[in-house]
């Protein structure tokens, strides 16, 4: 029996573990090793260069603009996306007309709103990015055509071509793609808050503004925190890479105004043949990610209320 148990455990774990170790763990470990070499990525030759790659980072202007843009995304994207998500969820859940016995109620058709809002979430990043790229097209895009139609024909921004606003344009697409998920998520959280809490607060004379900040938000805090981490990882990794790579001119341009860390890692490796240096950038990205998670966890620590 005992023998059988261990054979079973080993039998069930060996394949998943092997695949995971080969394709996830080993590349990560190797990446850290490569960041101390001058590997080009093209030939098997490399030599250890110690901390040279990291020292080089400090003098690399493109790296610093990538850091700046990544941190901007990291700070603003979650704030904007989650705020909009909470705002719409609150409207869905308390914006309804007051009915008998129900202190607060959802708006009519909240189910339909939720279905619509979730649309972008099931689409792949390239679809969303391309859609927005068309909309931003300065000559024939939907946005400038819209400005023309409402009589603002002389306001024809260059959108993605303008280094001042290019990053904001990319960020708008990312917000658009993600808000729906948080509307649904926060809605679920809000509707599980017992109605008695609101009743008691209203009896005490609280208005809806107060109930939101005193009841809804604190009780939703765990979900908000999870959402914050999700959005942060999104802003630093795969999603930011895909949006910037597909949408921006260059990609990463104009004038590195949309360059982000994951894209820079990719370009240094596969375009410039500097795999060793690229992994050093990747390690700095890892550090930013870890610091971010630690801060969110730390700031988010609140007393948990069971209900």
């Amino acid at each position: 029996m005992k023998h059988g148990k261990y054979r079973f455990i080993a039998g069930f774990l060996v394949l998943p573990l092997a695949i995971y170790a080969i394709f996830v763990i080993s590349p990560f470990v190797q990446a850290i090793y490569y960041s101390f070499t001058d590997w080009t990525g093209l030939s098997p030759d490399m030599k250890m260069v110690g901390f040279d790659n990291y020292a080089r980072l400090f003098k690399d202007d493109v790296f610093w603009s990538a850091v700046g843009n990544s941190v901007t995304l990291l700070l603003l994207l979650p704030v904007v996306t989650l705020s909009l998500g909470i705002f719409f969820a609150f409207m869905l859940n308390v914006g309804g007309r007051r009915r008998k016995k129900a202190v607060i109620g959802g708006v009519r058709g909240s189910g339909t709103y939720k279905i619509l809002y979730f649309f972008p979430q099931v689409l792949s990043v390239p679809i969303v990015a391309l859609l927005f790229q068309f909309a931003y097209n300065p000559e024939s895009g939907a946005l400038n055509a819209f400005f023309q139609a409402i009589g603002l024909g002389n306001v024809q921004p260059d959108w993605l071509g303008d280094p001042q606003i290019a990053l904001w344009c990319v960020m708008a697409a990312m917000v658009w793609a993600n808000v729906g998920f948080y509307v649904v998520l926060f809605s679920a959280g809000m509707s599980s808050i017992p109605k008695d809490f609101y009743e008691a607060a209203l009896l005490d004379g609280a208005n809806r503004f107060n109930t939101f900040f005193r009841i809804t938000l604190p009780l939703l805090w765990d979900t908000v925190q999870t959402g914050w981490i999700y959005m942060g990882i999104l802003a630093l990794d795969v999603s930011a890479f895909a949006f910037v790579q597909i949408m921006s001119v260059g990609p990463g341009g104009p004038d590195y105004s949309t360059e982000v860390l994951p894209l820079y890692v990719y370009q240094k490796t596969f375009r410039d043949g500097q795999a060793g240096y690229a992994t050093a950038i990747g390690v700095s990205l890892l550090i930013v990610t870890l610091v971010f998670s630690a801060i969110v966890m730390r700031l988010g620590r609140r007393e948990r209320l069971e209900f």
């Binding site: 039998g11 279905i115 979430q121 679920a188 597909i246 596969f270 870890l290």
Partner: protein, 321 residues
């Protein structure tokens, strides 16, 4: 927010929270008790009305912001190039179905679609099977190193994938897995395991032990208990994580962009779409590009509308855990 044992029952996701139709139909009957109660109620009602108009207003605006770009893409896919440039907001004068056939055949969207189906089909089965096996063992058996292995798996959720890509490329190259279906399937499985193991081991822990014990006493082997008793019991969890993985793998862009670049006919749908955008941009075939975009977009949207509840529950289940 306690852990949801059955994600299909997420409150607010599946149910409307309208109190009852009868209560909603009698707006006049409120606050008849007089005194302060009545006054408060009257104030509340006007406040409620303003709020109601305001909230419907903002909700409709965002609803339009979400649906307009999608509708615009679908409408544009039926236009010819002159119409797309001449009147971006107008309706097509003639329905140009040829855009669609051109995108499907000439621009290879059909082939890319098939590639995505093959790879995602294979990796989804693999992810679910291997993920469930590992999660089951880690959740329900005590053995030395259990915690270490669990955190090894789960830790993968927090690392930036881009960092692993460079060495991964060479791991794949050395194993002759670049530009192959099975190579991509293995990588998709590997990168889906962290969340799958995390979610399913949480799920297996909530299942009652007595059932598994009964099966063992009746003489079923561990393997048989897993496949015939535990796996069927875990069905709600499997569906949730299955949908999560399906969408994640179907929409995967980063991994194929790096690992699947040799053979142009083997592109995944997401990759193919971007390649199409680049090449059509030069050729000036914008209508074909919109058709390709719509081909990539509509099936997922249709599937979402049909399985709306399950999709929402599947995607949000992880965040609520």
């Amino acid at each position: 927010m306690s852990a949801q044992t059955d994600p299909a029952d997420l409150p607010g996701v599946t149910k409307e929270q309208e109190p009852s139709p009868a209560a909603a139909r009698v707006p006049g009957r409120r606050g008849g008790t007089g005194g302060t109660g009545g006054a408060r109620s009257a104030r509340g009602s006007s406040e409620g009305k303003t709020l109601n108009v305001f909230s419907h207003g903002v909700l409709v605006i965002w609803g339009l912001l979400v649906t307009m770009p999608l509708l615009w893409a679908v409408v544009s896919s039926f236009k010819d190039d002159t119409e797309i440039f001449g009147s971006p907001w107008g309706l097509p004068s003639v329905l140009h179905f040829d855009n669609w056939s051109r995108a499907w055949d000439k621009a290879n969207m059909g082939q890319y679609f098939l590639n995505s189906l093959i790879v995602v089909g294979g990796s989804l089965i693999g992810t679910m099977l291997l993920g469930a096996m590992a999660a089951y063992v880690l959740a329900r058996f005590d053995f030395p190193g259990n915690r270490f292995l669990y955190f090894l798996f789960v830790g993968g959720m927090g690392f930036p994938v881009i960092l692993a890509l460079v060495p991964l490329f060479f791991v794949m190259k050395n194993m002759a897995l670049l530009d192959t279906y099975h190579g991509l399937i293995l990588v998709y499985i590997a990168y889906s395991l962290p969340f799958t193991v995390f979610f399913l081991s949480g799920f297996f822990k909530t299942l009652p032990t007595s059932v598994a014990e009964a099966a063992l006493i009746d003489g079923a082997s561990h393997t048989r208990t897993f496949f015939q008793v535990m796996l069927p019991m875990a069905k709600p969890g499997l569906i949730s994580v299955g949908i999560f993985n399906f969408l994640g793998q179907w929409n995967q862009y980063l991994l194929p962009t790096v690992l699947n670049v040799g053979d142009p006919d083997k592109k995944m749908l997401t990759q193919g779409l971007v390649a199409l955008a680049v090449s059509q941009g030069y050729k000036g075939d914008w209508s074909g590009l919109f058709a390709g975009l719509t081909i990539a977009m509509l099936p997922v949207l249709a599937a979402y509308i049909i399985f709306q509840r399950q999709v929402v529950a599947g995607l949000t289940a992880g965040a609520l855990k």
